[in-house]
């Protein structure tokens, strides 16, 4: 038992609930929000140290032992994601101080952000499949609200699509949980793993696994990314950046968890399906990224590509690739958010999303430009930036397990990433400067600080691989050995 495990969930929850009580005091709201994220980060780091020393930390909520109550499990993998999501959220939060309009700030904007993070962190930490569903709902509902907060036309339009698709997938989630419960009689993930292993994962369970795969694929935009480009370009920058960094990644997390902990007995079926999906996702994402001349869309399709790439790690199901995938996942959360923030700043300056209509911004905004440049190359996976190491390991994994095609698609998709981000850079920052300082729609005042923060994190992730690596490697090796997780939750067998 370790009550600290709940803190990453409770702190934002509490903050959010408090913020509901006095929506009009904006400064206090801002302060509390920042403090909350810092506190979460602190506890998560502390927990990470504990996990390093004492093994996986668990908390049986209400004191009910594992398969009966709800259990929270903090292993290295989930804690890394919690920390990353806090950094990302902090970046977006600071960014929104300047960029989100005051009307939104008074309509519970900060509370919703806190709730969103509650949902995200909870999804990472929970060890119970139904509880995962509930956390997903918390997160989704908060995201519905944030997406439509402000009620602009495009927000409503995107909101309807986003909500509808997620409702469908949530219903399927309930259905899948129901089947799983019917067959195995339990909801605890560790217990599920034990029982599925005992039954040898018969075909019915594999079919249920596929059901789960489809559901999480919708959430993580793996192959089913149709909702993503439109809904991520609708809300204000800070919000879409937050979505870009976090929401799909939670789905990815769920896929990782499910297919390493529970359904790992039939990789011939499930994991090859995942491999196909990953390949198709990267191809379609690349085509989409090349196709458009709209900053937000290009970046949105880049999310799709990255998802495909990360999922390779689970498709080839090998430790090096998994390590790489986790590394790339963390990197992608940071860098994707950063790119969205930077793209948003560009859009804010020019007042349009169309690349055709912007040009030469590096003249007045060199820092913006170079940050975008570095972030793009980090995304492409150029050493020593953060995307490289993950990409290397994933590539290594695909080649060593003879998934050559996936590896090649992964490299080609990097090319699409390069082409598309450079398209933005060259159109937006290079060329004749058409916009004098006075003509700009907004200023970048206060927007560069969070971007600098995130880029520092990204650089650290790239150059300081050696420091981060023990944690990532431990996370991957834990994922490859479900016994560790099971023992931590259910006690020694």
């Amino acid at each position: 038992m370790n009550n600290i495990v709940i803190l990453p969930i409770v702190i934002p929850f509490l903050t959010g609930a408090l913020l509901v009580l006095f929506p009009k005091y904006v400064m206090i709201q801002r302060l509390l929000s920042v403090l909350s994220f810092l506190a979460v980060m602190g506890t998560a780091v502390h927990l990470l140290q504990q996990v390093g020393g004492e093994g996986i930390q668990i908390l049986n909520l209400g004191g009910w032992e594992a398969p009966f109550g709800i259990v929270l499990v903090a292993d290295t993998f989930s804690l890394l994601l919690v920390i990353t999501s806090c950094i990302v959220a902090l970046g977006c939060l600071i960014y929104s101080f300047q960029s989100i309009e005051w009307e939104r700030e008074r309509f519970y904007y900060y509370a919703f952000i806190q709730f969103l993070i509650t949902g995200v962190n909870g999804s990472f930490l929970t060890g119970d499949i139904f509880n995962l569903f509930v956390f997903f709902e918390v997160m989704l509902l908060a995201s519905y609200v944030l997406l439509s907060l402000g009620g602009l036309k495009k927000q409503l339009r995107a909101g309807i699509m986003y909500v509808l698709i997620n409702i469908v997938s949530s219903m399927l989630f309930i259905v899948a949980v129901a089947y799983l419960y019917a067959v195995t009689g339990t909801l605890n993930m560790a217990h599920l793993s034990v029982r599925v292993a005992e039954a040898g994962q018969p075909d019915l369970l594999t079919a249920i696994a596929l059901l789960f795969l489809v559901i999480f694929a919708v959430k993580s935009a793996l192959l089913f990314f149709y909702w993503l480009p439109e809904s991520y370009s609708a809300p204000p920058t800070a919000i879409s950046a937050l979505f870009a960094g976090l929401l799909t990644k939670v789905g990815v997390y769920a896929i990782f968890r499910m297919f390493t902990l529970i359904f790992y007995h039939e990789p011939g079926i499930t994991h090859s399906v995942i491999a196909w999906m990953a390949g198709l996702t990267m191809i379609l994402g690349s085509i989409g990224a090349v196709a458009y001349g709209n900053i937000q869309k290009v970046l949105a399709y880049n999310i799709v590509i990255a998802i495909g790439f990360i999922v390779i790690g689970i498709a080839v199901f090998q430790e090096a690739a998994l390590t790489g995938a986790i590394y790339y996942l963390i990197h992608d959360m940071v860098v994707k958010t950063l790119l969205f923030l930077l793209g948003g700043a560009m859009v804010g300056l020019v007042g349009t999303y169309q690349l055709k209509e912007m040009s030469g911004m590096i003249r007045n905004h060199p820092y913006l430009g170079w940050m975008f440049f570095i972030a793009s190359f980090a995304l492409v996976g150029v050493p020593p930036l953060s995307g490289f190491f993950g990409k290397l390991l994933v590539l290594q994994g695909t080649l060593e397990t003879q998934f050559y095609v996936l590896g090649v698609i992964g490299l080609l998709s990097s090319l699409a990433v390069l082409y598309s981000t450079m398209k933005i850079f060259m159109n937006g920052f290079w060329g004749e400067n058409q916009l004098s300082k006075e003509d700009e729609k907004t200023s970048t005042h206060g927007l560069l600080l969070p971007c600098t923060l995130l880029i520092c994190v990204s650089l650290f992730l790239g150059i300081g691989v050696e420091w981060v690596n023990p944690y990532v490697a431990a996370a991957a090796s834990d994922l490859m050995n479900p016994a560790v997780y099971i023992e931590a939750v259910l006690g020694p067998a």
Binding site: N3, V10, L18, V20, L59, N60
Partner: protein, 145 residues
Amino acid sequence: MKINDVILQTVTKIVTFIILTFAIYLFFAGHHNPGGGFIGGLVISSALILMLLAFDIETVTQTLPINYKVITGLGVLVSLFTGMASFVFHVPFLSQAHLHFYMPIVNEEINIATTIIFEIGVAMAVVGTTMTVIVSISRNKGDEE
């Protein structure tokens, strides 16, 4: 065209109280019989909805001047705090304590548990949310003006 609602309003006045009593009963019954915070909260809201149906928002707000959004927040906080009390007692989060009393008068075993406080929070949140939704929709004039 004015429509009088005398019959409805008279009945409502009586019925609301029956419903509210029943709601409170359900709330406490939940421990051993069907019921609980959720249902209690929902039934309270349905009583309020009935009042809104029979009268109008103005009147009801005058009688019950409550900011439902705050109620929602408070409800969530109350529930959360019962969970967080466990930090003080060094027990797992959300641990509930319960005591068995023997009440000689009604000749029944009464059972007080911290879950009651938890459920109060739940009920408050439910009422708050439902009413927030209903009232905000009804207040909205839309494009009709």
